[in-house]
Subunit: 354 residues, 2 copies
């Protein structure tokens, strides 16, 4: 069986490229003395997390308790929920259950939030890592405000392990190095404020895939990139991966030549609708770099072939999603191409939003 | 149990609003002499399709063979796959299986595509409806070209039931009536070309939710709206539903006040990342119409409250997704609020892309 024998659209990964990507980031972290704690929201796959750990990752990062439950349930015993959870009683019960078999850390970015968490999690051994805004302006306190949050944690008996940030503003052309520098500055400032309160931060954590190559290694102890395992059109266009590093591909069939363009069945329900301001289209055709997907709806991707001869109706093309985290979360399984063999891996944590 | 007792984020529907929406569109179609064949890709729910049929819909519209399999498997016996399928042997086998228990029609928009389909489906009784471009410029032939496609179908023994279009350009403010008028013109022209070839079209089908109220009822026989069952922020902002007609809501918890804004856990993995050019944000807060979601990532929706007092950390807010079809496809089940009772309905056809 070949991948082409499956009905399109589907997502397929090349394990040789995947393993190369996993090893490259692990080597880069090791060479610079950083702990690698990859964000597994990208792949939501137990098999891929295991490969990351085997290559040297110290543990994993997740976004939700539901994701943590999937990976801890599979035996992974060190998980950071990099999110300012509101820990009510039901969430506390789930976190306590996780902490029976894994080291669990959670995020917090306010005195109110950390007080709530600490009171709900008394005696669980769960630690908190304080989130700092390094320029992405999503969640996170200003670096100068971490002391107040740390003091609230201490007041309720919760251990502060350190600080983290997400330099999401590295998702812009020419901004990767600047965002990494701002990440380093914000984390250094926050770590120093923690030290002022008597905490010696053991975790100083940052890192997205676009910024990972520019990490201020004198400041950070840990990076949490996710997308690097697969790459995608965003990373390709940002310059943080090469075309030949892209491990996950959507396969689509040409269904129409309407308007002198190519219409593929890889719509937004398989590619994901994401389109960053810097993106040149709604995804890219791997084997036609000059083409652009100019229109995307749920079941149609319309590609302008830039004057090239149109692929024939019924032809199967390889499409690179803009944002691979969104694409993977749309399917129950990934087709796995390993040399001549074709199997599938489940997307174990698909849809685990809560 | 109340909806608020579940861990956010989740999607919930109000059945009273849902049933009102279903009945309103059915009455509108009946009053204007149109057949209603709702597109079920919006809800992917057998229960909701049954309610639409009970209210007067003649059958359903789907986008993929996989969706058809779910609904025909549940006993629905009249399905139109409104898509220019490339019918290879595996797809032909699946379509033949469907045709054993249901009336099946498929789309086509080229002589090559319809010849392929006709040859694969000989003797199945499956009919084709020819797709026309009425101004959305996605798939579909020019109205003048349908004769050529019809002749190719006839040459290979396939019955042409009629013509269809999707007036997707009605998704723009001030364009709803114009798009409906263009839909009417294109379908009339195409139907007349079919008559020239000796075909009397029994199906002249159009209709999206924004254009449905402007349908040229003298031309069309059928409409295929989908989103009307739920409504969403796009329809609200287009003026094709009212705020109080919105039947599907995402429930999210306030997790952060970073930057003086409200950060909710309703990220793009529950709302969907869709944002149309005309949208004022990444979704809307139902109970704070003045607020705008100014930033959306996978697990964070950042809302600017426009000067209003910030809802407290831990508060649960109601969020209206921009595009409900994308949101529903992200979850395995919908929470169902029916007066005091809270149950769930499965999203039966979630992820059935092929």
């Amino acid at each position: 069986m070949t991948a082409a024998a499956r009905s399109t659209p589907f997502l397929a990964i090349d394990t040789q490229i995947l393993d190369r990507n996993i090893k490259r980031m692990a080597a880069q972290a090791a060479d610079t003395g950083l702990v690698l704690r990859p964000h597994v929201k990208t792949h939501k796959s137990i098999e891929i997390a295991r490969r990351q750990l085997a290559a040297g990752a110290v543990g994993i990062t997740v976004a939700t308790i539901g994701e943590a439950e999937v990976f801890v349930g599979a035996g992974i015993d060190d998980v950071f929920i990099a999110y300012p959870l509101w820990v009510d009683a039901p969430r506390a019960a789930r976190l306590r259950e996780l902490s029976r078999t894994a080291r669990v850390r959670i995020g917090a970015d306010s005195a109110t939030g950390v007080s709530q968490a600490a009171q709900q999690l008394t005696g669980s051994g769960i630690e908190v890592v304080l989130e700092v805004d390094s320029g992405h302006h999503r969640s996170g306190t200003a670096p100068g405000d971490v002391a107040e949050v740390a003091l609230a944690a201490h007041r309720h008996g919760m251990t502060v392990a350190g600080v983290f940030t997400f330099p999401g503003h590295s998702y812009a052309p020419e901004n990767r190095a600047t965002a990494a520098a701002q990440e380093g500055e914000a984390l250094l400032s926050a770590a120093n404020r923690l030290r002022d309160t008597g905490v010696n931060p053991t975790v100083i954590s940052g890192g997205a895939t676009p910024s990972a190559g520019f990490t201020v290694t004198e400041v950070l102890t840990e990076i949490r990139p996710g997308v690097y395992v697969f790459g995608d059109a965003q990373q390709w266009e940002l310059g943080s991966c090469r075309k030949e590093d892209i491990a996950l591909i959507a396969y689509g069939t040409v269904v129409s030549h309407a308007g002198g363009r190519v219409v593929l069945d890889t719509g937004s329900k398989i590619l994901g609708p994401d389109r960053a301001a810097f993106s040149t289209g709604h995804g890219r055709l791997l084997d036609h770099p000059e083409a652009r997907i100019v229109h995307l709806s749920e079941h149609h991707a319309v590609a302008d072939m830039a004057g090239a001869r149109l692929p024939g109706l019924g032809d199967v093309l390889r499409v690179v999603p803009n944002h691979v985290c969104s694409a993977v979360n749309l399917v129950d399984e990934l087709v796995v191409l390993d040399g001549a063999s074709v199997t599938t891996w489940p997307v174990d944590a698909r849809g685990r939003n809560s």
